[in-house]
Amino acid sequence: MHISEGVLSAPVLLTGAVLTAGGLWAGLKSLRSEDIPKASILSAVFFVASLIHVNIGPSSTHLILNGLIGVLMGLSAFPIIFLGLLLQGILFNFGGITTLGINTFNMAFPAVLFGILLRAPINSKNSVISTVGSYLGGSLPVLASGLLVASSLYLTGSQFLLVSYEVLIGNLPVVLIEGFVVLFCIRFLKKVRPEVLATSPLGQTTEPASA
């Protein structure tokens, strides 16, 4: 998922950087003071999640956990993932600095999108809907991130079908596993602090910022 330096063309990098800048602005604006410690810990989780190596068959990839961040933090996923990727780039050499924008967008946008779309099913009182919603909240963002990575490479000249196939097959174990990770986390939070889920994603900013 971490696209290296020197792979993508300048327009793709620039577009990614601009989209991420917008996401960062919106994400920081929506981040409430009381959510900062949660954001900090989620950023740390994202930072180290890439060290969990999933090795099934010939493919080897790592956890991403962008779905968990999207479900819990909504728009604030942008700054959280950005910081995680920045430190991974500087300290671990994963990805790169020029690709920081596009990598952030590829991972944060699906997180935000599905975090918002799946909020209602996740909070549903019907346990089946809630379970399915939670599982999809973990797996769909990884799948969508893979497609965005494939699109980024396609826009630079790679063959879309070939790259998509590679990315999808490579990340399939992660897609399946992250669904369970998020399902487990949400079930736990529902038991311990259900209000965290009800108030976290976008749209629940109770304090009117403009007033």
């Binding site: 956890l63 430190l87 990315v167």
Partner: protein, 229 residues
């Protein structure tokens, strides 16, 4: 509010610890940063490519280009992440680029001074003492070149060795001996993140969000003041 945050913070902290503990300190801990290293080996040039954590790049495409960017050769890595090319008949720096799929790419520049000169390679084919070198391009670096030297003190040395042959022999022997060392250095570079870097990164995050918290607190304190005035 503070009391309400405690179980969540504790849960997320546990999650972070759970994520860190089992794998982060072992060789299995790895993510996708790609490395490539190339070195001359006899009449071939071999390249090894790894992901960080020293996991070999299997089935990656390695392309060899000259100074002008013209593609000289291209091959797919084996299960060890290795690939060997015949020494191209050109006196140019060589660039090796590995594409490991999903946007993972790395390159390595092998300078012409590190390559055996073409004229020596051509002449090396004739002396009888060097025949075994040229015929074994796929030998491991540990054995390549050594086979040409008679073992033991009582073995017969070639009676006449001209300067060029001697130079070639020394070069090939050095290349064979230094190859594994250079390989080991690359493997060292390809190690995954160390505990220092991981803890350092977590410290940075704590510091940055602490700073954000302080900023947010300061802004919140400032906001009510105009109303009071």
């Amino acid at each position: 509010m503070k009391a309400g945050m405690q179980p969540i913070a504790a849960f997320l902290a546990l999650l972070a610890i759970g994520v860190l503990s089992p794998l982060a300190w072992t060789d299995r801990a790895f993510a996708h940063s790609v490395f490539i290293f190339a070195w001359p080996q006899g009449e071939t040039i071999c390249a090894d490519s790894y992901f960080s954590g020293r996991s070999p790049v299997r089935g990656g495409t390695v392309t060899m280009t000259d100074r002008t960017g013209a593609v000289l050769d291209s091959a797919v890595t084996d299960d060890e992440g290795s690939v060997c090319f015949p020494r191209p008949r050109t006196d140019s720096d060589l660039t090796f680029v590995v594409e490991a799929g999903q946007g993972h790419k790395a390159d390595f520049l092998l300078r012409v001074v590190d390559l055996p000169p073409l004229n020596l390679l051509d002449s090396s084919a004739s002396p009888s003492s060097l025949e075994s070198n040229g015929s074994a391009p796929a030998e491991s670096p540990e054995t390549a070149g050594i086979a040409s030297f008679p073992a033991g003190p009582g073995a017969d040395l070639p009676k006449e060795i001209d300067l060029e042959s001697l130079r070639t022999m020394v070069r090939q022997e050095l290349s064979a001996q230094l190859g594994p060392m250079a390989r080991a250095l690359t493997e060292k570079n390809a190690q995954g993140p160390t505990a220092k870097e991981i803890v350092g990164g977590l410290g940075w995050l704590a510091g940055l969000f602490g700073f954000a918290f302080w900023l947010s607190g300061r802004n919140n304190r400032r906001k009510p003041s105009p109303k009071e005035d």
